[in-house]
């Protein structure tokens, strides 16, 4: 295949392309979904194709095909070139790419147990057992469990001489219980909602989740939530659990730090960003406790890889350091506009789409507290756990999150009382400046978000967020009505 792709690049150069790259990818995926002990969906898919990106003078073109013959590939290359030429005709801005050495390299995810070599029986049995365990609770009407496994084989070549092979594994699972009572229905999920937790790891990641052991508590809390009260609206001190903070970081730090958004490329769809260029190095994004990195090198993080889809080596950089906003997520073109080098955030979700700026692993670095110490510092407030809903404005300022459950804290201790339908709301920098403590690294975990949507055509990317629980003072809670 490599020779075939090299010929394509030579062909494009001969036709006048200033730069071109090509990605051949094979995506293999297995998914299992069990409900109330019954295997309801068992799927396997293979998706193979080639994407070709061309820069002609100052116009970009991209074309992709799942056809595999030489003629089809050449036709697709010509289409990418034709598109680039049409773009170039309307271009009034010079396109520059930040420097990147040519890499000849290979990368493979850190997998101890290849999930595709684990027997289907073992996977199905675990999900059946976990869902039946939840169903033992008489209020649980629907107990579900899911697993998802992906292997992505990528070959990237560019006219600058890069040849990069990558083999990336993605493994994920989760369980959910829907409970019903006279007061209505409620859901609890583990280890996270909307499909659970995911990582670029192997079957060992599923084993560490201990789904079966957690199933009874998931069911019990779902059942208890049905009759639980709602929080009286007001301002409270809150501790936000790691799996909810993951989405908080995702929406209020990850997305606004994408430099293509800042420059307007996403404006008509997902919006822009309040982190405009004038704020770089100046905005007090959060309190001094807040340190946020973009780090694609974390072992097993869902946003980890060896090289991004422009052939830039994975790296770690700061977005927020000691509360100060200091950096963006960048690709080669936007980095060059700031006179910087790309920090390796250009990613495509498939061979059929071009790379755009995406999160890698965007992490809130751990602090020095134990969770008990964070709780001890709250006179009256709540521990909010597991995302239920999210919404944020087009500049990433005004957000509102709902979580599945709130645990009451009184006099520095958890009381055991729970509340349903908690909702909290704030404005991004106000919120992060209210952070006065983050739990230490023993609580730190990289949560996987497998379904981040961005771009047109829509791309769904897998990204990670390292978090420990953190405490925030005087946050508006209970504002849904």
């Amino acid at each position: 295949m490599q020779e075939k792709l090299e010929r394509l690049l030579s062909f494009l150069t001969s036709k006048g392309a200033r730069y071109a790259d090509v990605r051949y990818e094979e995506h293999t995926r297995q998914e299992l979904f069990v409900e109330n002990g019954v295997l309801k969906s068992f799927t396997h898919s293979v998706d193979v194709g080639t994407g070709i990106r061309v820069l002609y003078e100052n116009g970009w073109g991209f074309a992709a095909t799942d056809e595999r013959g030489d003629a089809a590939l050449e036709r697709t290359a010509l289409k990418a070139l034709e598109i680039a030429m049409a773009s170039n005709k309307r271009s009034n801005k010079e396109v520059q790419l930040s420097l990147e050495p040519a890499h000849k390299a290979a990368f493979k995810s850190w997998v101890m147990k290849d999930p595709f070599l684990i027997s289907d029986d073992e996977k199905i049995d675990l999900l059946k057992a976990a869902t039946l365990k939840m169903k033992e609770n008489s209020r649980v009407v629907r107990a579900t469990g899911s697993m998802s496994f992906r292997r992505i084989d990528k070959l990237f070549l560019s006219t600058e001489g890069s040849v990069i092979n990558q083999e990336i594994y993605i493994t994920g699972a989760g369980i959910e219980a829907d409970a019903l009572g006279e007061a209505g229905f409620q859901r609890r999920s583990y280890p996270a909602s909307f499909g659970g937790d995911h990582a670029t790891r192997g079957w060992e990641f599923i084993e560490e989740m201990k789904l079966l052991e957690h199933a009874p508590k998931v069911a019990e809390e779902a059942a208890m939530l049905v009759d639980a009260p709602e929080i009286e609206p007001g301002e409270y001190d809150v501790i936000i659990s790691g799996n909810q903070l993951a989405l908080q970081i995702h929406e209020s730090c990850g997305h606004p730090s994408e430099l293509d958004r800042v420059m307007g490329s996403e404006l008509s769809f997902a919006g822009g960003s309040f982190l405009t260029l004038d704020k770089l190095g100046k905005l007090k994004y959060g309190s001094e406790h807040v340190n946020i990195t973009a780090d694609a090198t974390i072992i097993g993080g869902l946003g980890s890889f060896g090289f991004d889809d422009e052939g830039v080596k994975a790296q770690k950089s700061y977005i927020v350091r000691n509360g100060l906003f200091v950096g963006y997520l960048m690709d080669r073109q936007t980095a060059a506009e700031l006179g910087l080098r790309s920090n390796g955030a250009a990613r495509a979700d498939s061979w059929s789409h071009p790379p755009i700026i995406r999160m890698t692993n965007i992490n809130l670095l751990p602090g020095n507290y134990t969770l008990e110490e964070l709780i001890a510092g709250v006179d009256y407030g709540f521990l909010l756990d597991t995302n239920k809903s999210w919404s944020i404005d087009d500049l990433r300022l005004n957000f509102q999150f709902a979580t599945e459950i709130a645990y009451e804290i009184k006099g520095g201790k958890l009381t055991g009382k729970i509340f349903k339908n908690p909702v909290y709301h704030d404005i991004t920098p106000n919120f992060w400046n209210k952070c006065d403590g983050i739990a230490n690294e023993s609580y730190w975990h990289v949560w996987g978000v497998p379904n981040c949507g961005k771009g047109q055509p829509m791309q769904v990317m897998h990204v990670g967020h390292g978090t420990s629980p953190a405490r925030f003072r005087k946050v508006k809670v209970g504002v849904k009505r």
């Binding site: 998914e31 979904f33 109330n36 019954v38 295997l39 309801k40 969906s41 799927t43 396997h44 898919s45 073109g61 991209f62 074309a63 095909t65 799942d66 056809e67 697709t76 289409k79 990418a80 034709e82 598109i83 680039a84 030429m85 049409a86 773009s87 005709k89 309307r90 271009s91 289907d120 199905i124 009407v141 829907d178 019903l180 209505g184 229905f185 307007g264 490329s265 404006l267 008509s268 769809f269 997902a270 919006g271 789409h353 071009p354 755009i356 239920k388 809903s389 919404s391 404005d393 087009d394 005004n398 509102q400 709902a402 909702v423 709301h425 404005i427 055509p457 829509m458 849904k480 009505r481």
Partner: protein
């Protein structure tokens, strides 16, 4: 486009290579291209062509689904081998599974001739037209896209259905410093695409949106544009019309189905036959799709049953199976909120004090039991005073209980528009609504 003949041959090959295995197969083939612009410059310009074949096989009341984009004979053999292995490990369903009944029909082709050979230059010409309308007053951000889709449903019991449809769409945000306006459009071909009027509106709103003022959160009379109306009903469609969750009583429909939820004038359909919709004539089980009422004369009339849910609960499938890996979930893809009787101009003129909302942003479900939705306003929010849009308003967050919102509908416009959504287009009117609940502002 490979055309019906190619897929008839594929069907023949499948029957040849899947002997002894009961199957339902679906092919999606897509040729899609999209030109994206920002700051009045094209920054992304793409085309993709792909096909996938998904085969659901069943044996001993077990099911397995395998998908590939290799439509060659070796590809089919590999799929069969994969399915045989999966069926060995699969476990039986807890209801009696049957493949859908045989469904036959003439091929349905809804692709405009002009869409069969589209070049990037044609999308760029639309962009040029937009720029001309914008002049140098505003910057434009958005996309222009065209696609041709072929969908084939085949089964071992003899079903062969072919449908193709094509469409073009665009959206545009016009920016005047930090002020913005938005519009989108959908049509079956570039010739039919109404661009100028909508871009003019986006530009007009951008200009009107300068120097926005703030108001306190609270309950206000609103006039919602078709984009905003469409968003609210799309979330309603997703959350409240799935027969499976209805039967489990974990859907708001368990409480509201059959009740009067709005004025007589409120009529909402799933309607593949509507002239402003893209026709999705068969679902993925080959069930013919017809115009079906969801809300009629203000009464929440129907929820929908996908193939699996219909078998499980002894209901008739309604033509809403759109995923072979989830045979239970049903969703209306051709959502049409019907026109009312009042001209929008009159609706605004008759509003002494209120808020006009052009578009919502990032809606989500806050409470799935009571269908409470949240979201932000964006790209054209104005104060209405004495029947006129007088001042631009900073963006506000709303939290609205859907079934209170419908009860508070005061008027529905006689004008409807087809708006581009993430998936299928939606048809929606303007609505005047009382007591719309804004809970915060972005100061």
């Amino acid at each position: 486009m490979r055309g019906e003949a190619f897929y008839r041959n594929l069907f023949r090959l499948m029957n040849e290579h899947f002997i002894g295995l009961k199957f339902l197969a679906v092919v999606w083939e897509q040729d899609q291209a999209l030109t994206r612009f920002a700051n009045s410059r094209i920054h992304q310009n793409v085309a993709e062509r792909k096909a996938s074949l998904s085969v659901l096989a069943t044996k001993d009341n077990k099911i397995a689904l395998a998908t590939s984009n290799d439509l060659t004979v070796p590809g089919l053999k590999a799929l069969r081998e994969r399915l045989e292995t999966m069926l060995r490990f699969a476990t039986p369903l807890d209801y009696e599974f049957r493949l859908p009944e045989v469904s036959m029909g003439y091929p349905v082709e809804n692709v405009a001739e002009s869409l069969k050979k589209v070049f990037a230059e044609q999308r760029a010409i639309i962009f040029d037209r937009m720029l001309k309308i914008a002049a140098n007053d505003v910057l434009l951000f958005g996309y222009v896209s065209d696609n041709v889709t072929e969908n084939v449903v085949m089964s071992s019991n003899g079903t062969f259905l072919y449908q193709s449809f094509g469409g073009v769409s665009f959206n545009v945000v016009a920016m005047n410093e930090s002020a913005s306006g938005y519009a989108s459009g959908v049509a079956k071909s570039y010739e039919e695409l109404s661009v100028d009027e909508k871009v003019e509106r986006a530009v007009r709103f951008a200009k009107m949106s300068r120097n926005p003022v703030e108001i306190d959160p609270g309950s206000y009379t609103v006039v919602l544009g078709p984009e905003a109306v469409s968003d609210l009903f799309m979330y309603f469609g997703w959350l409240c019309t799935n027969g499976y969750t209805h039967e489990l009583k974990i859907s708001p429909s368990a409480k509201y189905l059959g009740t009067k939820i709005g004025p007589n004038e409120l009529n909402v359909y799933d309607d593949p036959t509507h002239p402003m919709q893209l026709p999705f004539v068969y679902d993925l089980c080959g069930k013919k799709r017809e115009k079906t009422a969801i809300i009629e004369n203000g009464v929440f009339k129907n929820v929908f049953y996908a193939h699996g849910a219909a078998l499980r609960f002894n209901k008739k499938p309604t033509g809403h199976t759109f995923s072979l890996d989830d045979l239970d979930s049903a969703v209306p893809v051709n959502l049409v909120v019907d026109a009312g009787t009042m001209p929008v101009e009159e609706m605004i003129k008759g509003t002494k004090s209120g808020i006009y909302v052009n578009r919502f942003h990032y809606m989500n479900i806050v409470d799935p039991q009571e269908a409470i939705f949240t979201g932000m306003t964006r790209d054209g929010t104005f104060i209405i005073e004495n029947g006129q849009l007088t001042k631009a308003l900073k963006n506000m967050r709303f939290n609205v209980k859907f079934f209170e919102f419908t009860q508070n509908i005061e008027a529905i416009s006689k004008e409807v528009e087809s708006v581009a959504s993430e998936y299928f287009p939606q048809v929606a009117p303007y609505m005047k609504v009382q007591s719309f609940n804004f809970t915060s502002k972005t100061a």
